[in-house]
């Protein structure tokens, strides 16, 4: 089709931006808010629990002590339509019982086997550190690939892009080992709020890595054809995907200390 949209390769004079660059930055802004919601949830859940409960899960509650009351609320929930406050009551009602429930149970159940561990993620710190370095390195290789294109060196661009993809696969491999070892130790998303956040956030991050690999692979494979026909647009694409990849790295830079070290 012959519709020619302007400012794909040349920046618009008054804003100084190409379409792709502005588009990617806006997309990243919304991604920041996406991960921001998870970080905010981390803060709320961590502040709302003791460290022990947060990391290893609250101890099971003794049921008979409060079943009557619970029943009452449950009925009200079923009868109501949107139940904003019913939830409310459910939440507060039971938090009032937290203390007694814990006193009754804190000594028992699986908590003892973790006595030597500060966090269920403690054993994964070496792997996560290694992964941090892998991801930072891949970020450098992407920006070096972009610089190679600016220097008209397609061969070196291919080399650095290939290296980036390889590093991304290394990251995924380590993540796979990490997940399986967590499962082997009986740590699942349902185990504790920390583990729920850990699995959800890192998996979302892994999805971003996989998405990145797909785009990188396309651009270093069939997509490279554009270098011959329209080098400016191709360079623009590389810059845009580079921005995305740096963002994936940036998220990990925050995920790593927040989940593993704090």
């Amino acid at each position: 089709m012959s519709v020619e949209i302007p400012y794909i390769t040349e920046p618009r004079p008054d804003t100084g931006l190409t379409l792709a660059k502005l588009g990617v930055w806006l997309f990243l802004a919304s991604e920041v808010m996406l991960f921001g919601a998870f970080f905010s949830s981390y803060v709320v859940l961590r502040a709302g629990n003791t460290w022990q409960d947060f990391a290893f899960g609250p101890a099971p509650v003794v049921q008979d002590a409060e079943s009557d009351e619970g029943d009452e609320w449950a009925e009200e929930e079923a009868a109501s339509d949107e139940t904003e406050d019913a939830d409310e009551h459910a939440g507060h009602d039971h938090s009032a019982h937290d203390a007694s429930a814990h006193a009754a149970d804190n000594a028992g159940s699986g908590h003892d086997d973790h006595a030597d561990l500060h966090s269920p993620l403690q054993t994964a710190i070496p792997m996560a550190t290694f992964n941090t370095i892998v991801l930072i390195t891949s970020s450098v290789t992407v920006v070096l690939a972009y610089a190679s294109l600016l220097l008209n060196n397609l061969g070196r661009f291919r080399f650095y892009f290939g290296l980036t993809i390889a590093l991304a696969f290394v990251f995924l491999g380590v993540k796979y080992v990490e997940y399986t070892s967590k499962f082997a130790h009986g740590y699942f998303p349902a185990t504790s709020p920390l583990l729920a956040l850990y699995f959800t956030m890192t998996f979302l991050h892994v999805l971003h890595v996989i998405g990145g690999i797909v785009v990188l692979a396309y651009l270093v494979g069939p997509g490279t054809k554009m270098w011959k026909t329209n080098p400016a647009q191709f360079t623009g694409r590389i810059e845009a995907v580079g921005l995305y990849w740096h963002f994936v790295d940036l998220v990990w830079i925050f995920l790593f200390p927040v989940l593993y070290l704090l």
Binding site: V3, R12, L22, S30, A37, V44, S67, H94, F188
Partner: protein, 588 residues
């Protein structure tokens, strides 16, 4: 562009109308989808209103069908509390996320914005196609939840945890969450596209202060969608984890359901869901209303033949409104044990945010002063919007102060307030927009008589439905009862209002028939002599003055226009006609 028209013949039907990348076709796809969903959501609420006026009585005509579809939940064709809850949840979800947002942003935004700013298309046409298709998938997921065992989501359009999580027996809520994730993704793709288009693809001379107000409204709406929607997407993922992986993001410690300890480990926070939900859903209210304000501004300027009064103050107000809408969300949560400091913060911001809305409405009313007003159908709807949105806005003030919100919050007052904003407010503006831009899309104006037959009854019945809600609400009738409060003594004196509302709702349904006839007939009738002129409304903005009606194929303009002046130069003294197009150079 002649070249383009030639290409148009080569395109297959599929390419041209189904998998199109042309913003105009995509706008129409959004519009048709949204209108169908609006009608569907309206049908659901008709059934709810039947149940409230005639509790525990079989629904006439379609009771048998309901029983076949929902089994026990509609035993004997009666709307049971279970079914009522499902319909309530789905009515809200469908109207907001599948009806009005796609219509206001997806349809009007897509069709009109590139034409008004002089762009050949949206900035990313393929992304645009992706967003309409993701919307379509989201709609299919939502709709299909009506046919699964246990029926669709039952936990309100707000899906508050833990109620939404403990209902694990039926998959309705899971469908809701998956559907929402698709719809959110669609909106995010659309928002990026709109922002880039408006920033980058304005025609030469189209400076920020020459933009039609509608474009400003879309710009701010897209910005709200871009930054407010992701937290709900995150929350949706977390609630999905709570439901399918047994996590406890929103499940408190020691939750007891029906006398048994809930299986999840606990440690979560139900309030967290509310925060993340309302972090989106309050800006979302402005996404619902800003495009409506934009449409009304266009139509009022055009039909009062005057420039908008205070265009600049309207623009600054809409920017400020967008900013403030991010920090008022917890006024939906005054009942959640909120402390005085935080509560004072949110009450203050809520009072502040009412100021820019009042500025915009006041500017629109003053714009009418001294105009030579043409009372055509779009103008009637636009004029009706002003007092309706006024009632909606003013009844919102008591809800922004915790002292008066706490007694009113769970009553019909809230329903009345909210619906005054979106039903006779936004939906009237949407109708105004459809009547106004129909000649742009088809080359033919819709019939004026049928238009008025649509407007006057709709106006009366809308008020017949929603005003009694305010009365019932102040009397204390809960907003969550499938029987309309039948068994409560205090509601006896105002119970007959349920009948008024149900009859009005039925009347409103009938009042849409002239619209549907008008809509379909105008699409298929022949163009009359003298119709299909470029500028049937004598408007100044370039979508009328520089593009054909109906527009040519992909590419919009024969020559991309140069813009010389502000958007609403009507009745300029010394001019030979009462409108001066934006693309007309100064005569000197």
């Amino acid at each position: 562009m002649a070249d383009d028209a030639h290409h148009g013949h080569d395109e297959s039907f599929l390419r041209k109308y189904i998998f199109s990348t042309d913003h105009k076709v995509i706008g129409i796809q959004y519009a048709l989808g949204a209108l169908v969903f609006l009608l569907f959501g309206f049908t659901l609420v008709m059934l709810m209103r039947w149940s409230m006026a005639n509790p525990n009585q079989a629904v006439p005509f379609i009771g048998g069908f309901l029983e076949t579809l929902f089994g026990e939940d509609a035993q004997g064709g009666v709307i049971t509390p279970q079914l009522y809850n499902s319909f309530g949840a789905m009515h809200g979800t469908i109207m907001v996320f599948l009806g009005i947002v796609p219509l206001a942003v997806g349809a009007f935004g897509n069709y009109v914005v590139p034409l008004q700013i002089g762009a050949v298309d949206m900035a990313f046409p393929k992304l645009n196609m992706a967003s309409v298709w993701v919307y379509f998938v989201g709609g299919v997921v939502m709709f299909s939840s009506f046919f699964i065992p246990g029926g669709p989501a039952k936990s309100g359009w707000t899906s508050y945890a833990p109620l939404a999580v403990i209902d694990a027996a039926s998959a309705g809520q899971t469908f809701w969450l998956v559907g929402m994730i698709f719809l959110i993704t669609s909106s995010l793709l659309g928002a990026v596209n709109f922002l880039v288009t408006i920033i980058q693809l304005r025609a030469p001379g189209m400076t920020w202060m020459r933009l039609p107000f509608f474009v400003w409204a879309q710009f701010i709406s897209s910005f709200l969608l871009l930054l407010a929607f992701p937290p709900l997407e995150a929350a949706g993922v977390m609630q999905l984890m709570d439901r399918v992986a047994g996590t406890s993001f929103f499940m408190p410690t020691g939750l007891v359901v029906s006398g048994e300890a809930y299986s999840a480990v606990g440690g979560g926070s139900p309030i967290l869901w509310q925060h993340l939900f309302w972090f989106l859903a309050h800006p979302e209210v402005y996404v619902l209303i800003l495009p409506a304000l934009g449409i009304v501004a266009e139509i009022i300027a055009n039909n009062s033949r005057k420039p908008l009064w205070g265009y600049r103050s309207m623009v600054y107000s809409v920017i400020f409104l967008g900013f403030m809408s991010f920090i008022v969300w917890a006024h939906h949560m005054f009942l959640t044990d909120m402390g005085v400091i935080i509560s004072a913060f949110f009450q203050t911001t809520t009072m502040i945010i009412s100021i820019p809305s009042v500025i915009i409405i006041t500017a629109l009313i003053i714009s009418l002063w001294g105009g030579s007003i043409r009372f055509n159908t779009p103008m009637l709807f636009a004029l009706a919007f002003l007092p309706m949105f006024g009632i909606g806005g003013l009844t919102g003030l008591p809800l922004g102060l915790s002292g008066s919100d706490i007694p009113l919050h769970d009553t019909y007052y809230v329903i009345g307030h909210f619906h005054y904003v979106v039903a006779p407010g936004t939906i009237f503006a949407m109708f105004a927009g459809i009547y106004f831009w129909f000649p742009k899309i088809t080359g033919r104006k819709m019939n004026e008589f049928l238009g008025k037959l649509h407007f006057y009854p709709s106006f009366i019945f809308m008020n017949g439905i929603f005003f009694p809600m305010l009365i019932q609400g102040i009397a204390g009738v809960s907003r969550r009862l499938y029987d309309g409060g039948e068994y409560y003594e205090f509601s006896e004196s105002i119970l007959q209002l349920n009948t008024v509302m149900t009859h009005s709702a039925f009347g409103l349904l009938l009042a849409q028939i002239p619209f549907i006839i008008n809509f379909v007939w105008t699409i298929f009738r022949k163009t009359r002599e003298g119709e299909g002129t470029r500028n049937p409304w004598d408007a100044t903005t370039i979508e009328w003055t520089d593009a054909d009606s109906p527009p040519m194929g992909h590419g919009n303009f024969a020559v991309v226009p140069q813009v010389y002046r502000a958007a609403y130069e009507y009745s300029v003294p010394g001019s030979d006609k009462d409108f001066t197009p934006q693309s007309e150079p100064d005569s000197k």
